[in-house]
């Protein structure tokens, strides 16, 4: 008797192929099919994708070369104590793997990404290069207005390079489509938290990351197809520990590392991988009543896009937490999802994640939530130590968690 087939397997295979398309052949095909319309790379963590889609630009989230790019030239630009993602990104740029892109946007994630924006401008002067300064004050008349200027500026610069003019109707349409995607990503997260054996973290990762290189509408088709087929998957539940992974929002762990965590007795019920696609809680508040945010107004789609970040941006290490308590959002997620522990996984030399970590640990300690931590690099190849550590952690939670 043959094993039951997984109806989701082709969808996951497609998502994995997109992950492995480091030379961006899919992006080049999209450009060819759209009359050479621009495609723009976006470094982690966050830039609002609907802005780009509204002006006919394909936004492509770039996460470096992972564990599949041999970094030689890129290392010549960085000292040993700087994280890995800028090296592999430069390697890919110099090696022609990013040629399909017409430019890059560098959000204000950290000093390394910030300085990379200037390096890019010098290394690739023929390409567009922009620094997106995300606000660290979130009142509408302050950070809100500033952010609006930033988005308008970038849109205008891209229009000058061949993009369509920013039009309120098209932006509204792009936001509506993005909100549909966001709802589906929320469904995906819900399924994974409810039945982590039906949708593993590594699979959710692939499905989400496909959105890094696909137009929103195509990503929606993929997500809808998966969610429709998921109930038919042949699955087997395991008695794993439910954990949340935090700290991997920029430089991504290799997919093998995520699978290693799964094999070590952990169900990863939530994470902050590729936060750029999930950095907003809920929908972009187009036409919603969000209280007085003057001079911004949710009936204006650009204002709605701004308010989605200032009002609904997730609490993460790159965002200033003005009034809240550090780690509170994580503790709430642990409670909501019924997680039993947290794995703090940060890339080596990642200032935001590692400087945040003592505060996060304090919050977890105060809440009595067990955690463990390790560091990785995007090209880490040895997972055995991490498997043993995560395995010991899951065992200890199982054995002593209720004590």
């Amino acid at each position: 008797m043959s094993a039951p087939t997984d109806p989701c397997a082709p969808l996951l295979a497609r998502a994995e192929a997109l992950l492995e398309d480091l030379s961006l052949h899919g992006v080049a095909a999209w450009k060819a099919a759209h009359g050479g319309a621009p495609a723009i790379g976006i470094m982690p963590v966050f830039a609002p994708r609907p802005l780009f889609e509204a002006i006919g630009v394909l936004p492509v989230n770039i996460y470096g070369g992972g564990d599949r790019v041999d970094v030689i030239k890129g290392d010549a630009y960085y000292q040993s104590y700087i994280c890995h993602i800028p090296r592999s990104t430069i390697e890919m740029g110099l090696g022609g793997q990013l040629d399909a892109l017409d430019g890059m946007v560098f959000p204000s994630t950290c000093d390394v990404i910030r300085n990379l924006s200037g390096m890019w401008r010098m290394l690739f002067p023929q390409k567009y290069s922009a620094y997106l300064d995300l606000p660290q004050t979130f009142e509408a008349p302050l950070g809100g207005l500033f952010y609006r200027h930033e988005l308008s500026r970038i849109a205008a610069e891209l229009v000058a390079r061949g993009a369509r003019p920013l039009d309120a109707d098209r932006l509204r349409e792009a936001i509506i489509v993005e909100n549909r995607r966001r709802a589906l990503l929320a469904d995906l997260a819900s399924l994974r938290a409810r039945e982590p054996w039906r949708l593993k973290a590594s699979e959710a990762y692939l499905l989400t990351r496909a959105g890094a290189v696909l137009p929103c509408a195509e990503h929606i088709e993929l997500l809808e197809a998966f969610l429709a087929a998921a109930p038919e998957r042949p699955v087997r539940a395991y008695d794993n520990v439910r954990v949340i992974v935090l700290g991997a929002f920029c430089e991504q762990p290799p997919i093998g590392l995520i699978r290693t965590l799964e094999r070590s007795g952990c169900d990863l019920v939530d994470d902050d991988f590729q936060l750029g696609l999930c950095a907003i809680d809920g929908a972009i508040p187009l036409d919603e009543d969000v209280g007085d945010q003057s001079p911004l107004d949710t009936h204006d789609p650009l204002d709605a896009l701004v308010l989605s970040y200032t009002l609904r941006g997730q609490a993460t290490a790159t965002r200033y937490i003005a009034d809240g308590v550090k780690g509170e959002a994580l503790v709430n997620r642990v409670r909501t999802l019924g997680a039993e522990g947290v794995i703090l996984a940060a890339p080596s030399f990642c200032d935001p994640a590692l400087l945040d970590q003592p505060m996060i640990e304090q919050a977890l300690n105060d809440a009595g939530i067990p955690f463990t931590s390790f560091k990785y690099a995007e090209n880490s190849a040895q997972f055995q130590t991490i498997r043993e550590q995560a395995g010991a952690f899951s065992d200890s939670v199982k054995l002593w968690g209720a004590a």
Binding site: Y78, N115, G118, M119, T137, G143, A322, L355, E361
Partner: protein, 442 residues
């Protein structure tokens, strides 16, 4: 002839490593008295009802803080002082024991370690706790995390001033307006709330006028190094010259007098044809003129300096001495447009400039100061400075034909100052500069 090695900040341990310092210049004596007086006031601040603001050097709002009747404490300065006094290693270890990663900024860990050990400041007395953390988010992402960490400990309010980055090296009206709006709607109200009194805007303007006077004289001191031989060392000596204006004294009469005296002393050195004074006395005939990018190492500051001074290598310009303001590009605090001017000050600090602008500035220094070499001291702790420095090296060599040197160390973690390694590299570098001169390339 006096020496510039001695000041309040000269550590006992470092002083023991070299000859006893000679008599001080008037400006040095004044700086020492100013700092001693300030720390004495800090010690008594709480009992005097004085409110305390912790803030950072780049983008500091000293005139505003003082006009609000408050005193500042600068954690970076405390960290570097701990480094010079041989205490940073222990503080960093303490912080790492409390869960702070070995990968992150050692200024932060040194400050946390100092806090955990009673917050004893440079003069050996306890620093007052902050009533407000004024987070000037200028040129360094880590600042934000630093004050988030301190807030956890002190449980005091934080006022965030988000200063946009200058990726293209120019200030746009939107950037300026964003900062002015934050000052008006957020920062000034926060200061007034903590201090309990209304900001005196006339006092603010008066202080900014004083800042401008001191800035004129500081620029004259910096630019004296264009003279050959240079009368100053613009890096190791330079960190003393920036002391008052980068710390608590910008916008004070004391700073005006200090920089007036310093300028007169430097002009007298030019008149007498004298070079700078190094850690062990006058530096011999100027052999190499260098521009340096990056902060110094503080744990072995004098050993580091000797690696240059014994080779008669003089640093004529440095970017570290511009982290608290690029006055030599023309910026002055302007009493007639106080808040706009403060905004431009914050925006214009060196590490808030995009990499291409930083390279332009270094190229300008190499040419205008007629440097025959430039050196990058890449510090592990500071990605704001360090990320991109290898491209800076390549680009400057390409543009100027002047050879660059590259060494690695750290700010205040003694584990990352490899003395023999750095010394070897520098000796090789200086030999190469000699060889070029002998072949007529210089």
């Amino acid at each position: 002839m006096s020496t510039q090695t001695a000041s309040l900040s000269t550590p006992t341990t470092a002083r023991a490593a070299g000859p006893a310092p000679a008599a001080k210049d008037l400006s040095q004596q004044r700086q020492k008295e100013m700092l001693a007086d300030y720390f004495e006031k800090l010690t008594r601040a709480k009992e005097a009802g004085q409110k305390i603001v912790y803030t950072f050097v780049p983008g500091n709002l000293n005139e505003l803080i003082a006009a609000a009747g408050m005193m500042n404490v600068l954690p970076e300065i405390n960290a570097l002082q701990s480094g010079m006094r041989g205490r940073s290693g222990g503080y960093i270890t303490e912080a790492e024991k409390h869960g702070h990663s070995e990968d992150v900024c050692t200024y932060v860990k040194c400050d946390i370690g100092m806090m955990l050990n009673g917050n004893i400041g440079p003069t050996g007395t306890k620093l007052p706790e902050p009533d407000l953390l004024l987070l000037s988010y200028t040129g360094c992402f880590t600042f934000m995390k630093w004050f988030e960490l301190l807030r956890e400990h002190y449980k005091c309010p934080v006022a965030m001033l988000h200063v946009p980055y200058q990726p293209e090296g120019r200030i746009t009206p939107d950037m300026r307006k964003y900062i002015v709006d934050q000052l008006e709607k957020s920062i000034i109200p926060a200061l007034e709330k903590v201090s309990g009194r209304k900001l005196d805007r006339d006092d603010l303007a008066a202080r900014m006028a004083l800042s401008s006077k001191a800035e004129d004289d500081l620029v004259a001191v910096w630019e004296s190094a264009k003279h050959t031989p240079s009368p100053i060392d613009g890096y190791f000596g330079g960190v003393y010259y920036i002391g008052p204006i980068f710390s608590a004294f910008r916008g004070t009469q004391g700073a005006v007098e200090y920089y007036r005296e310093l300028r007169a002393e430097v002009e007298e050195r030019i008149r007498l044809g004298l070079g700078p004074v190094g850690p062990d006395g006058p530096i011999g005939p100027e052999r190499h003129r260098l521009v340096v990018e990056g902060p110094p190492n503080w744990t072995s500051f004098f050993d580091f300096w000797r690696m240059f001074s014994r080779e008669n290598a003089v640093v004529c310009a440095s970017t570290y001495t511009r982290v608290g303001g690029l006055y030599d590009l023309g910026f002055r605090h302007d009493p007639d447009r106080a808040l706009e001017s403060l905004a431009e000050y914050c925006l214009g600090c060196y590490t808030n400039l995009g990499l291409p602008s930083r390279i332009d500035l270094l190229e300008k220094y190499i040419r205008e100061y007629q440097a025959d070499g430039f050196l990058i001291n890449s510090v592990k702790s500071c990605n704001s400075f360090s990320a991109g420095q290898l491209l800076i090296l390549q680009e400057l060599e390409k543009r100027t034909g002047v050879p660059g040197g590259f060494i690695e160390s750290d700010l205040v973690d003694p584990r990352y100052f490899g003395k023999a390694n750095i010394d070897n590299r520098l000796q090789s570098y200086f030999q190469m500069l000699d060889a070029r001169k002998a072949r007529g390339y210089a």
